[in-house]
Structures are given as structure tokens and as C-alpha cells.
Subunit: 100 residues, 2 copies
């Protein structure tokens, strides 16, 4: 069993593609510095579905302790400092997956 963390973001009006590129650049550093991340994927919504937010982050970790370590890691907190001012809305779920 493992734990999958999902966060969906809706950007505030006026957020530019360059600002989102900065977010992507910051996020791309995290797998290299947070050893609890067994898997990490993120990206911009492709505009092909319904009820869509603008951006998704998926983090795969071992368990609740590893999730907390990721969440509270200083480098992750630094990235959240870049993301938060751009956010209009956030939706999140943490759930148990069958694979380690």
C-alpha cells in the first residue's frame, strides 16, 4: 500500500503562462531534494474535459509520515510560497493506492 496525494489548482484571473512556467520550474526541483517522493507528476490542464481546474500535482509517497515530510519540507514550502499568491481555488485528495 502507498499513498497518493493530489492537488488541483485554479489560477486567479490574470495569471500568465510565464508565472505558471515558474511554478513548473520550481516543482521540477522537488523530486531531487525530497527523498520521500516515490513518484511526482504535474502539469497544465489540456482543455479537453469538463469541470476542469487549471493545473494538477500528483505525489506518490509511502504513507502518512512520508506525506507529512513532503508537505512540511522547506523546499516544498518555498514552492507553495510561489503558488499561493496565484491561486483562486484548490482541491485536494489523499488516498491509499494498491501499489507500493
Amino acid at each position: 500500500m502507498a499513498l497518493r496525494h493530489i492537488a488541483l489548482f485554479r489560477w486567479s484571473e490574470g495569471v500568465t503562462s510565464e508565472q505558471v512556467a515558474r511554478v513548473e520550474e520550481e516543482l521540477s526541483r522537488l523530486p531531487g531534494v525530497i527523498p520521500q517522493l516515490d513518484g511526482y507528476s504535474f502539469g497544465r490542464d489540456l482543455g479537453i474535459g469538463a469541470d476542469t481546474f487549471d493545473f494538477a500535482v500528483v505525489a506518490d509517497v509511502a504513507d502518512e509520515d512520508a506525506f507529512a515530510a513532503y508537505r512540511d519540507h522547506p523546499e516544498h514550502q518555498e514552492v507553495l510560497g510561489v503558488i499561493r499568491p496565484l491561486l483562486a481555488e484548490r482541491a485536494s485528495v489523499q488516498f491509499r493506492t494498491g501499489t507500493a
Copy 2:
């Protein structure tokens, strides 16, 4: 490159654990009947995060055509018929991932 589809659900007030178990049972059939699903995970929110919805589904497919095949598959549509009456809110993102 591949495509990752995420759907987060917030259940209406009064939805029971048994109704969610029915959703889980229905979803668990899909990987066996929809060949476009390269990966499929879903589950109930663990109650350990902020801004949380109640349930998540993550589908990994090859591309936009595979996503459409999954979305429109009769067995998937049948499961949506079970899910929709329980929904208060839905949030979704489709994004491109680095791995095939």
C-alpha cells in the same frame, strides 16, 4: 509522453459508506474491460489534508484518443450513472505526463 486524467468528487450530504463502496466496486471493474487504461487508481480521501474533496480517480492513458475512448466507453458511462446522483461537486484535470 502520456496523459493523466484526474477527477475529484465531493459527495452530497447523506451519501453513505455503502454507496461509496458500490462506486468502488463498479470502478474496480473498469481496468479489466477498457484496454486503453494503462493505469487506474481511486480511493476515499484519508482526511489528513486541507481543501479536500471526498474521493479521487486517476486514469493513465496514452493520449487524447485513449482518454476519449475511456470517457465514452459504455461500461464507464454505466459507472458514471452510479456516481452522478451522489455528486455535490466535481473537479478535474487532464495533463501530459513525462512517462509513457
